[in-house]
């Protein structure tokens, strides 16, 4: 059974790992391959700061909230493991700031120690009159992706540096199941008008005195269009750009100035921070995550595709829940494919 994963960002690699972990023992002929034109450190996941935090509202999409929770709990369980450092995983606390009271988020009971900010804390952030404090986690893509890659390589999963042009291309080579984790470029494999870029730009600075994340919200301009500061292990990420429909991956001077000015106003000590990098990336935005099966039949070519893309600005936050769901879909495909004549395997 040949399974091809398209995409080597956090979604592709974690889906591959879930499937291999769960089915390698059950399907002796399982061959897993990862195809991508970009690998770490050049994927969208590498550019993200890596903070676990969903959007403010799940818009009633309980499924996504459950996947977020599954991811948080999975990561929390790994915090004290010897792997945590290699994974780029650690606890972090911080502030979400608003100019008016807002309802509590869907994730208030998922994170640790969620509470409202006190008046004295709000004094730190002139212009903001309401906010939250909570403890969450960082999972830095630049570490997590290599960790996933190592786990996969140890398991014998093969990697191919190749841009896949179509699902048919893989099916005609004998692939049975394709996992479509192509993120922003899923539209090139199959048109999807719901998938749009949410362009972001970030400035990387050295500000090791910053120990908290600070995320501001402007309910009029929408998510991530308001300054945010996220301290990592080696550098701090300054951001606050979300441009729907903008495909440019070039750094814009106008956005640079907007990020710099607004973040320095938010946290004056940043004025002394040294800039060490800048990056633009495209959040693969969609009204909801596309996580579903699709059967393909073209002449005598047939195959199954499991779509797992459209995670917007919360890919790292939701990745494990989606990877497990993708693995469940794969399990169902296996059940359906059970050949007559062979002894029945364990019920999946």
């Amino acid at each position: 059974m040949r399974v091809a994963v398209i995409g080597a960002g956090v979604i592709g690699l974690s889906s591959a790992l879930c499937i291999h972990e769960q089915f390698h023992g059950l399907v002796p002929s399982l061959e897993l391959e990862v195809y991508a034109d970009h690998f770490t450190p050049h994927t969208t996941s590498d550019g993200a700061a890596g903070l676990w935090q969903p959007y403010l509202s799940d818009h009633g999409n309980l499924q996504e909230t459950l996947w977020n929770k599954e991811t948080f709990d999975y990561l929390l369980g790994h915090l004290h493991s010897p792997e945590a450092k290699e994974m780029g995983l650690y606890l972090i606390s911080g502030y979400n700031l608003f100019t008016e009271p807002v309802p509590d988020p869907s994730w208030k009971n998922i994170v640790l120690g969620f509470r409202n900010l006190t008046p004295k804390e709000l004094e730190l952030f002139p212009g903001y009159s309401y906010g939250w404090f909570n403890t969450a986690m960082m999972l830095e893509g630049r570490s997590y992706l290599p960790w996933l890659t190592n786990r996969l390589t140890q398991r014998g999963v093969k990697f191919f540096h190749k841009k896949v042009e179509s699902f048919q291309e893989l099916f005609s080579q004998g692939v049975d199941v394709v996992l479509n984790c192509s993120g922003m470029r899923a539209g090139a494999l199959q048109p999807d008008p719901e998938l749009q870029p949410g362009r972001g730009q970030i400035i990387k600075v050295l500000a090791p005195w910053v120990k908290h994340f600070i995320i501001t919200h402007n309910l009029n301009s929408g998510i991530y269009n308001s300054p945010y500061i996220i301290p990592g292990r080696e550098f701090t990420v300054l951001g606050g750009i979300y441009q729907h429909g903008n495909w440019s991956e070039e750094n814009s001077a106008k956005d640079h100035n907007s990020i710099w000015d607004s973040c320095c106003r938010l946290l004056p000590p940043l004025q002394k921070a040294k800039i060490v990098g800048e990056w633009s990336g495209l959040r693969p935005a969609r009204r909801s995550v596309r996580l579903e099966r699709e059967s393909f039949r073209l002449g005598n070519l047939q195959g199954e595709v499991i779509h797992n893309y459209g995670h917007g600005g919360f890919g790292i936050t939701i990745h494990r829940g989606c990877a497990m769901a993708a693995a469940r879909l794969f399990g169902r495909i296996l059940q359906e494919k059970q050949q007559p004549g062979t002894p029945p395997g364990p019920r999946l």
Partner: protein, 341 residues
């Protein structure tokens, strides 16, 4: 007295902050800092500089609270300014955990730090050997940066600083009108205070930039304090020990205790070991005194004996000491105008 000459003995956090307060309240004073050690070789440089008060058994609580409140407010303002990184001052959140619920669940300073509350059950899961905990956000003064920043502020006011070992306060008579004794552990020798005793502390300073929270065991012996570039791991409280030599067995033991609170510290690197002697006293000595010897008088203001709580109360005691210096100046002016009559 046009321009009183004030000597401040000691250049740790107490000496430097006291000198600065004196200059701020009495700009016409000429202030000179004298010390045998300056940063990075003071006791303050070893300390993590966390604003978590130590409770002095014999100082009234309201006074300790006032000192802490003033110190916190002063540093809070700097932490949110463009000077914060140079001054080494930053906010840090974390947890103080207890193996069994303490008698006093709400310490006197709980309403001064930010967001103080009891830890939730879910948060306590991270500390399987601990039953109770407090979460809050406080400030940290990283040294050397904070001391160097104080020195820079002092230089800008025209304050001179000299490396000089003062063996006897009377040495300064004639040269200076008022002496301020911020000699810390040195006061044991300098003024013969037998109530002052060292409490030896050994710490490790490690590179572990993924540690973003402080963790402190309520027994005060084990703590993890993340600074700007290094995390301070501690510690020990050895009463009466004067040894400044690091002990390798103790290093291993501190590391193990901290790893059991925060397992990820196993991956910490570049471990540096330091030792400091907390200048301990049952109450901090912030007091005015006029020394007399053979008809000569020397006004002295003492500000020492801060033990484990120096950073937490430094600005408050510096303010009080500066106020006492003001009283000394008034007394001198009073007696000098009487002398003119």
């Amino acid at each position: 007295m046009a321009s009183p000459k004030v000597a401040v003995v000691g250049a740790g956090v107490i000496g430097l902050s006291t000198a600065l307060c004196i200059k701020e309240t009495c700009p016409s004073c000429s202030v000179t800092v004298l010390s045998d050690q300056f940063s990075p070789n003071t006791t303050s440089d070893v300390a993590a500089g966390m604003l978590i008060p130590y409770t002095y058994p014999d100082t009234p609580i309201h006074r300790q609270k006032q000192w802490f409140k003033e110190t916190f407010a002063y540093l809070f303002a700097i932490s949110n300014s463009a000077e914060a990184s140079e001054a080494g001052i930053h906010l840090v959140s974390g947890w103080q955990v207890f193996k069994s619920t303490p008698k006093e669940e709400l310490p006197f300073w709980s309403d001064i730090v930010l967001g103080f509350r009891a830890m939730s059950e879910a948060e306590l899961l991270k500390f399987p050997r601990h039953q109770f905990g407090q979460a809050f956000t406080t400030l940290k003064c990283d040294c050397p940066p904070y001391l160097l920043w104080l020195q820079k502020r002092l230089k800008a006011t025209g304050t001179q600083m000299y490396t000089r070992k003062v063996a006897d306060l009377w040495e300064l008579h004639g040269e200076y009108d008022i002496v301020v004794n911020c000699a810390g552990m040195g006061a044991h020798q300098l003024v013969g205070d037998k109530q002052l005793f060292p409490v030896r502390g050994q710490v490790l300073k490690v590179h572990a930039p993924w540690v973003k929270h402080f963790i402190r065991d309520g027994d005060g012996l084990t703590y993890i304090y993340p600074g700007i570039h290094r995390v301070t791991l501690g510690g020990t409280r050895e009463e009466g020990s004067w040894s400044l030599t690091p002990d390798t067995g103790t290093t291993r033991e501190i590391f193990d205790r901290c790893c059991s609170l925060e397992p990820s510290l196993q991956g910490a690197q570049y471990i540096e070991v330091k030792v400091g002697l907390r200048p301990s006293r049952h109450c901090v000595r912030v007091q005015r005194e006029v020394l007399s010897q053979g008809g000569l008088k020397l006004p002295v203001v003492h500000n020492y004996g801060h033990g484990a709580g120096g950073f937490s109360v430094h600005r408050g005691t510096a303010n009080e000491a500066a106020h006492l210096v003001g009283e000394c100046i008034s007394a001198l002016q009073g007696s000098s105008s009487r002398a003119k009559l």
